[in-house]
Point group: C2
Chain length 193, copies 2
DNA sequence: ACAGAAGTTGACTCCATGGTCAAGAAGCTA
DNA sequence: TAGCTTCTTGACCATGGAGTCAACTTCTGT
């Protein structure tokens, strides 16, 4: 759609790259809502330049989201895809998604808010969701996961973790992980009690 | 400590009462962080009056917190206290706290932020926590709840729900409740698997 | 080395919110 | 009802972040 991009001036190219780097850095540690002034400062550039180059906050996010999260999620899908046991696949998928959320504040923002109109993101999320659906139904068919768990539940469980992490209730990674275990146990098939 | 309160003028008394009512109303539906202008509007009074009468946002909250949440929490403690079965007590306590959070956004704010220096609140929270500890250890002694669940976990599980509800991920009360079930099931004693 | 295009800047506007205070309004008492 | 005191008001200050733009700076091709 966009024409053959007439070449930009050298300093412009340099800046765009610098801003991308800075954004990755800043967003990774502070989430997608970090003030753009900070990105600007980190890139040694003025806020105006960011707007000039990327149009808006969202533009910048779109330009960076792939490297920021998409790769990680694809990595998870790939890794889980390599497993055989249905229950292991199910639990590993959730666990890895949840830990990604803990490790990268930005991942939540992506999963939570940036979605509505970032094309590549929507695509990615759909893909993940489709994958999750497969994992879930397999695990249920194998009798490893409770039957009343719906795909929406799964989706919700992930969003929920995002919110929790984002809120910054102090908890060490170990505690976080231990508590995820509680959750997972609650999702397993309940033999008649 | 405060002297015998020389009587206030009639309009002042009327306003204080009106503001309290309005605050209850507004905070109930919007949480404790709702702009005070809204409270003022609802009370048919100017923002300045609120500050004059209550000193600060926190002052207003303190003046209202009891009627807003304290009673509800005490109600829960009382109701659960009447139950006998340890597991039922445990689950009922959590369930009711969680539903309270769903039903009243303000409850979260109370549990989450207002705490640090509101005396009555601190007191109440301590009481609830002590109660929860009893419920937990009883349930664990009875072998109904997993042994590796700590009191901190319990506390955290409640805060967590608060955050989730506050974030306003759309979910009907039914879905919310159904998902709580997953959580509770994950907390039960796990017979050797 | 210069003209003109491309790029950058930072001060500016806007908006929302918390909180303050001098001036004016209203209640109370004699 | 006058006069004193208590109250209320709403305009005002401060903060902090989003986004804009006219003026200035830096490239680049000739």
């Amino acid at each position: 759609m966009t024409g053959p991009e007439r070449p930009r001036r050298a300093d412009a190219r340099r800046n765009v790259e610098g801003i991308r780097r800075a954004a990755l850095d800043v967003f990774r540690s502070g989430g997608l809502t970090t003030p753009l002034d900070e990105v600007a400062r980190a890139a040694g550039v003025s806020k105006g330049t960011i707007y000039h180059r990327f149009g808006s906050r969202r533009g910048l996010i779109d330009a960076v989201v792939d490297e920021l999260v998409a790769e990680r999620i694809q990595g998870i899908i790939a890794a889980v895809g390599r497993l055989d046991d249905p229950l292991a696949r199910f639990e590993e998928y959730l666990l890895r998604m949840w830990l990604l959320q803990y490790d990268e504040p930005a991942a939540n923002d992506v999963l939570l808010r940036a979605m509505p109109d970032s094309e590549p993101l929507v695509h990615l999320c759909e893909r993940a969701q489709r994958f999750a659906l497969g994992v879930l139904t397999d695990a249920q068919r194998a009798g490893a996961v409770r039957a009343d768990l719906t795909p929406e539940d799964l989706h919700h469980l992930i969003l929920e973790r995002g919110v929790v992490v984002q809120a910054g209730l102090r908890q060490s990674r170990e505690d976080y992980q231990r508590r995820l275990r509680f959750l997972l146990d609650g999702l397993r098939h309940v033999p008649a009690r």
